[in-house]
Symmetry: C2
Subunit: 438 residues, 2 copies
C-alpha cells in the first residue's frame, strides 16, 4: 500500500505543547505498552507498519517539519516537502509527482491520502487497504472513506451516498451543516468526510497537468510558490462523477483541541504531576522538570512546557488560539533532525540553551554575525570543528566562538551542551550556513 500522510500547519490550538515550529502531531502524549510515550505521527506510522509492513509512506509537509519527522520516524520515511503553503490540491499533486518521479512508483498504482493526526485503531488502517483495493479495480476514479457519524456534528463535512451498502456511489457533499440539518442527513445515511481517499497516481497527475503547466516533480517543486491556493475537495472531489465511498464504523477521533486530545489520553497525568482526591476530570501534561500540583479542580486541563502554562476549563480550551497568537515569544523548545534544543534562560544580551545531539548527528556548519557563543559540554563525547580545526570534546570541555567564526559539533555518543549566546542582537535568523570541506 502507498500512503501519503498530510502533515498540516503549525497549530497553536494545543499551546503550549504546539508552537510555530512544533505541530501537535509531534507531541509525545500517547502511552505505549512499554511505558514510553509516542506522538500522533509516531502512533499512526507504527499502526500503518503493523497492518502493512511493506507500506510505502510519504509525508507531505512543510520544510519546518522535516527535522521533527526524521527525528521521530527515522530517515527511511519519504517526505514531499512543500516549499510554501498552497492548500491541499497543490500539496497532493506535488506528493503524487514525487511518488512517480522521485520514488519511481508505477503511475498505475494506487495511493491512499490521509491526515497524519486521526486517533484511530488498527481497523482504520485495514479500511485504508480496502480503500486502496477498491480504487485498484477501477470502478471509480476516487474512493473516499466515509466515517459513520456518532453525533450530528456541526464541524465536519458530510458525504451522502446513493445507497447504504458498504461501498456506494457518492450522491452529494454537504459542508458543515447545522446540528438539525446534520441530523437529517444522518437519517439519509450521510457519513463524515475525514479527508481520506484513494486514487491511481496517473489520475491526479493528469488533472494536475490540465490545471498547471509543469513537466515533472522537480519543475512543479520550483514553481510551487506561483501556484493558486485551491483545496483538493474543490479541485477534484466535488467535480468527479466516478466517485465512491466506503463506510468505516471504527473509532475515529480528530484531536484538534485540548478537550478532544485529553479524551484520548489513557492517563490523567503525563509528566510530573499530582492531583488531589477533590479533582475530577482533570488532565495534566507537563513537559517541565518541576511538578504540577492540582487541588480541587473539575474538568480542567493543565499543560506546561518551556513555552508557557495553560490552565483551562476543557470546554473553553477550544478558544485559546487568539490569546496564544498575542504572546510574542521566541521559540523555547524544538526537535531537530539532529536532536533538540531548549532555551533555559533569557537575558537581554544573553541566551542560554541546552543542546542535545543524537549519536552520529551534527548541526550545520555555521557562523553568526552578531553574537559570540560558548559551549560547555555536559555529557557525552564528540568532536567540534571551529574555523576548520577539529577537536575532541567531552563533558567539562569548554569551546569559545567569536562572532563570525564557523563552527559545528559532531556527536559520537549522545552529546549535551550548554550553549551561552552573547551579543546585543540575538536572533535565530542571524545564521550563515557553510558546506564543510573534507
Amino acid at each position: 500500500m502507498n500512503i501519503i500522510l498530510l502533515s498540516g500547519g503549525s497549530g497553536k490550538r494545543l499551546w503550549p505543547l504546539s508552537n510555530d515550529i512544533r505541530s501537535k502531531q509531534f507531541i509525545k502524549i500517547f502511552k505505549k505498552d512499554d511505558g514510553s510515550y509516542e506522538s500522533m505521527v509516531q502512533r499512526v506510522y507504527r499502526q500503518i507498519k503493523k497492518v502493512d509492513t511493506d507500506a510505502a509512506v510519504t509525508i507531505a509537509t512543510s520544510k519546518a517539519q522535516v527535522s521533527a519527522i526524521h527525528n521521530q520516524l527515522g530517515e527511511e520515511v519519504g517526505i514531499s516537502v512543500e516549499p510554501c503553503r498552497r492548500d491541499t490540491f497543490p500539496a497532493i499533486a506535488l506528493a503524487t509527482a514525487y511518488l512517480v518521479d522521485v520514488k519511481h512508483t508505477d503511475p498505475e498504482e494506487v495511493v491512499v491520502v490521509c491526515p497524519v493526526d486521526p486517533y484511530v485503531d488498527d481497523d482504520y488502517f485495514e479500511a485504508l487497504k480496502k480503500l486502496s483495493e477498491q480504487a485498484e479495480n477501477g470502478e471509480a476514479n476516487i474512493v473516499l472513506m466515509g466515517i459513520e457519524p456518532t453525533y450530528p456534528s456541526e464541524k465536519y463535512g458530510y458525504i451522502i451516498p446513493e445507497s447504504p451498502e458498504q461501498t456506494a456511489q457518492v450522491k452529494t457533499f454537504k459542508e458543515k451543516p447545522t446540528a438539525a440539518m446534520a441530523e437529517h442527513y444522518i437519517t439519509q445515511g450521510a457519513l463524515w468526510n475525514g479527508g481520506v481517499f484513494a486514487y491511481k497516481l496517473r489520475y491526479v497527475l493528469e488533472i494536475a497537468h490540465r490545471m498547471i503547466d509543469f513537466t515533472d516533480y522537480h519543475d512543479l517543486f520550483l514553481k510551487y510558490d506561483t501556484l493558486t491556493k485551491i483545496s483538493f475537495d474543490y479541485a477534484v472531489v466535488e467535480k468527479e462523477e466516478k466517485i465512491q465511498v466506503q463506510r468505516f464504523a471504527g473509532r475515529w477521533k480528530d484531536l484538534g483541541t485540548w478537550n478532544t486530545l485529553t479524551e484520548a489520553m489513557e492517563e490523567a497525568v503525563v509528566g510530573k504531576g499530582v492531583l488531589n482526591d477533590a479533582c475530577t476530570g482533570v488532565h495534566i501534561v507537563n513537559e517541565m522538570d518541576v511538578p504540577v500540583l492540582a487541588m480541587g479542580l473539575h474538568d480542567v486541563v493543565i499543560s506546561s512546557s518551556p513555552e508557557g502554562i495553560l490552565v483551562s476549563d476543557k470546554e473553553q480550551s477550544s478558544y485559546i488560539k487568539p490569546f496564544v497568537d498575542k504572546f510574542e515569544q521566541q521559540i523555547m523548545f524544538a526537535e531537530k533532525s539532529w536532536g533538540s534544543f531548549k532555551v533555559v534562560d533569557v537575558e537581554s544580551n544573553a541566551l542560554t540553551i541546552k543542546v542535545s545531539l543524537n549519536a552520529g548527528h551534527s548541526m550545520n556548519y555555521h557562523s553568526h554575525r552578531n553574537r559570540d557563543e560558548v559551549w560547555v559540554a555536559i555529557s557525552g563525547e564528540g568532536r567540534t570543528i571551529v574555523d576548520g580545526m577539529e577537536q575532541k570534546v567531552k563533558a567539562g570541555d569548554v569551546v569559545t566562538m567569536s562572532a563570525g567564526c564557523r563552527h559545528t559539533v559532531f556527536a559520537d555518543t549522545e552529546l549535551k551542551l550548554v550553549e551561552v549566546q552573547l551579543g546585543e542582537d540575538i536572533t535565530v535568523s542571524d545564521k550563515q550556513k557553510y558546506e564543510l570541506e573534507y
Copy 2:
C-alpha cells in the same frame, strides 16, 4: 520604639513560591505605588519606618533567612539569629538578650514583639506605639494587642478582657474554640490574639534567667540547642497576672494560605499571565519568564516558580502542605545576601545555574570536593579569585574551576554568570568555605 519581628519557619503552605529556604514573607507580591513589588517583610518594615523613622527593628529568625533579610532590607536591620528552632519563648528571650547585650539597649526600655507577616495598614503600627507607651507606664508587665474579630473564626486564640474599655485587664484566654463558642466569646467582648505584645526588656530577661541558666546573650546563643521548646504564651503570658490588652479595630489579615493571600492582592495577575473573560475570582502569581494562560476558571489560584506549578481551587489551597512535603526536589531558586541564584537545567551529572550578584557583593571563597565548575559571565563586570589569583571578568569571559580549586567572584557592577556544575555527586552540602587572605 523598639520592635522585634518574629520571622517564622519555612512554610510550604505558599508553595511553589515558598520553599525550605524561601519563606512566604520574602515573596514579592504586593504592588507599591511606583509599580514595583514588595514582600511581606519589606512592606511591614516600610510601614514601621513610616510611622516611626527612629524605630529600632530586630528580626528574630533562623540562620537560613539571614541572607534573604539582608537582601531585602539592607544591612542596617538588627538580626537575632536562632541557631536552631526552639519555639517562641527561647526565641524572644534570645532577641531580648540581643537587644540588651549586643545593641546595648537600656533594660528599662520597652520592646514590642510582633509577627513579620500580618497584612495591615499604617494604623496597626500606630497601635503598636500605643502598646509600647502603655507598657512604659508600668500598669502591667505585658500589654497585648487584641484584634476586634470580624467573624467567629475557629483558627485563632481569643483574649477575654475584664471590660470593654480601650485598655483593659485580661480576664482569660481561650484557644481555638468552635465557631459557636467563638460567637459566645465575642458577645462577651473577646478579641483575637494576634501574637503582638509589649514589655520592658528587663521583665523577660528576669523570667529567662529564672528558667534558663545563662550569663548573657553570647552564653544563651551557645547553649541555645539545649533549651526546652516552649511557647511564650505558655511560659509567660498565661502565667502573668499584671497583664493588659489594648483593642485594635483596623484591618488585620493573616496571610498564611493562598486563599487569604490572594484576598490581599490588589491585582489578579502578578508576572506574565492572561485571564480570559470567562474567568472569575482567578489569581495568577507567575515567577517564570513564560506566560500563563487561564481560560474559564472560577475561584482558582495559579502560581508558578522555578520550584513547580500550583493550580488550586482557593478553598482547597489550605491543604497543599502534605502534597508539597512529598515532592523531593532540590532548591531551584534562592535569594542570598549577595544576590540570587536560579537552577535553569538539571541533568544527572550536570547542573546549570544562573547566578546574579549585586554590585559590591561577592560569594564566599569556597571549593567543592566532587565537582568541577565553569562560569560564563553574561553581563556586568567583576573580579574572580581562583586559587588566590585575581582576574577581571566581564560578559563573555569563561572561568573553569576543577574540583578542589578555591574560588569566588566579586561584582563591581551587577554581575550575572551562567554556572555549569559537573560531577557525579552534585549536592549543595559539597562546599568548603575559606577565609580570603589579602
